[in-house]
């Protein structure tokens, strides 16, 4: 099985991803962790804003919107649901 890693900025609506790593440079890293973006956690892509940003994800049962630039700092792999 090939494990393709990508970043959440490229997430497609309807796809699910598993978090691998959040870049340390991201100032909201802690906030994202509190909201459930932690290693191994599976998130679903729900919506993309009118100008390609922000992106809305389902994390731990809640819907969280993140700007594209921030999402790009989150490394994920494709996850089959």
């Amino acid at each position: 099985m090939c494990r393709k890693t990508t970043d959440l900025g490229k997430a497609m609506i309807g796809n699910s991803y598993k978090v691998i790593n959040i870049d340390n440079s991201l100032q909201i890293k802690n906030r994202l962790k509190e909201l459930g973006f932690r290693k191994g956690c599976v998130i679903d892509t729900l919506n993309v804003g009118s100008f390609g940003s922000p992106l809305a994800f389902r994390v731990c049962g809640a819907v969280i919107a993140v700007r594209k630039e921030d999402a790009q700092e989150i490394e994920v792999e494709y996850h089959e649901r």
Partner: protein, 600 residues
Amino acid sequence: MGNPNVGKSTIFNSLTGLHQHTGNWPGKTVENAVGEYSYNGIKYNVCDLPGTYSLTPNSAEEEVTSEYIITGGYNALIIILDATCIQRNIRFALQILEKVKAKAIICVNLIDEAEKKGIAVDTGRMSEILGVPVIKTAARENIGLDELKNTIESVVTDNYYYADRQNNTYSEKLAEKLYKECCTADTAEPDKKDRIIDRILISKRFGIPAMILILCVVFFITIWGANIPSQLLMVLFVKAGVKLKQLLVCVHCPELIVSALVDGVYTTVTWITAVMLPPMAIFFPMFTLLEDSGYLPRIAFNLDSCFQKAGAHGKQSLTIAMGFGCNACAVTGCRIIDSPRERLIAILTNSFTPCNGRFPMLIAIISMFLIGTDTGIAAAAAKTVILIIVIVISLTVTLLISKLLSKSVLKGIPSSFVLELPPYRRPQIIKVIVRSVFDRTLFVLGRAVAVAAPAGLIIWILANVKYNDTSVLIHLKNTFDPVGIAIGLDGAIIMAFILGLPANEIVLPIILMIYMQTSSLNELPDMEVLKSILTENGWSITTAVCTMIFSLFHFPCSTTLLTIQKETKSIKWTLASFIIPLMTGVLLCLLINIVSGIIM
């Protein structure tokens, strides 16, 4: 305390019987609220804290909470969790239980919503693992509140339940264990309905059109619905005014005082009531319905990109939405913005958003000069379109000034933006209507009337005190005339805006009163009559447009200024919030005046 938007304020309200504002979006509560209730003869003080995601604060409102939690001074902590989102909420609870050694109760709220979504929570098991009492509640339905009061009593009075907390050290493993053992979900996608709605309301293609459509509908209903009650009220007040005058004359009241009371105070107060009450009584409940349904954060989602480009924060659109209601409330609401720089931008530009005090004036001018005074559906629709254009102008200027500020005095990179989109909830319609009429409409109206009464008296005195055969009012008007005319207005309008500093609602009535002077109002003051009064005093389309622009962009009302001073703790920024919109308005009006001078 608990995560944002888990229903802390709703529980607080049902415990204390108070009416803290609640809404379906994270960040509604930004200040501590204190209340009390009695249970079995003991009085309890309850404190409602703003929501937070952790004890390491990221924004001003979260700081309020963590400061309170750490400094103590309470007997027990009620940690409120969202039953539909246990996986995340449980980590927060663990973090609190580890750091804070006070007695604690866990309250799993929104249990009704969770059940609908097929989520079951085993509170017994949770209590066993954590060593603290765990209670299920559904505060909106009043479920579980007696049990909560009961538990609070036993926790506060005994040392019961206080013992076994040694294994409460925070760990990933414990969190997972808790989630797996206490929480079961029926379906794979419990929030299916919400996602279908979201596919339209925040979709790439339909998100923004849907938002504009919703705004149109809200304003259309406001304009169309307010027409008839407004006119009825006016007729009623004028008739009552005549009767009042007769009555006062009957009881041998001196003519001067009769005139001061009826022509000064009574006329101003009733005009404001007639013009303001109907649109407010329609607009506020509709706004609250939107707020309760969970739509507001979706507006922030749709508009975030625009704000990002302006170097501002996406949540600024939430504060702008609040500004439609009242700028002063919105300035306090700016606390939901984490970064101080972006929060200041949001505060400084908030008064660009026309608040409820200014809507009636805008609508009145639109109907008098741009559309005609027809009350039909077509005219109301046309008025709505123009009003939406006015709002788009105010939004554009807000973005431009935000951009300007973030490029000059408030330099910095735009901070990150994380926003939780709450589930849609069916608003409690009756409750919403009752609450918004009593809490908001009457409050705002009361404030306007309190300002209008003395202002009416002042105008009457100025109009009746003569100096060199002309009234002081005319002298003053003439003094302001050169400035006013240069920017497409006139002295009377400028005076009205200055006198309207305490409340913008009274600007239009004051303009009319200055024009009419001492002549009393015995005929039916419908829009046609008002229009002819204005045109007789030199109003053209340009004057109307300039007045509208100036009402969007001038100094904030005194309540807002005081709030800004309180929030920024800086005279410099309060002054800036006074000067920036004023300069914007003066420049825009000057521009419009010059352009229209060339065209016409």
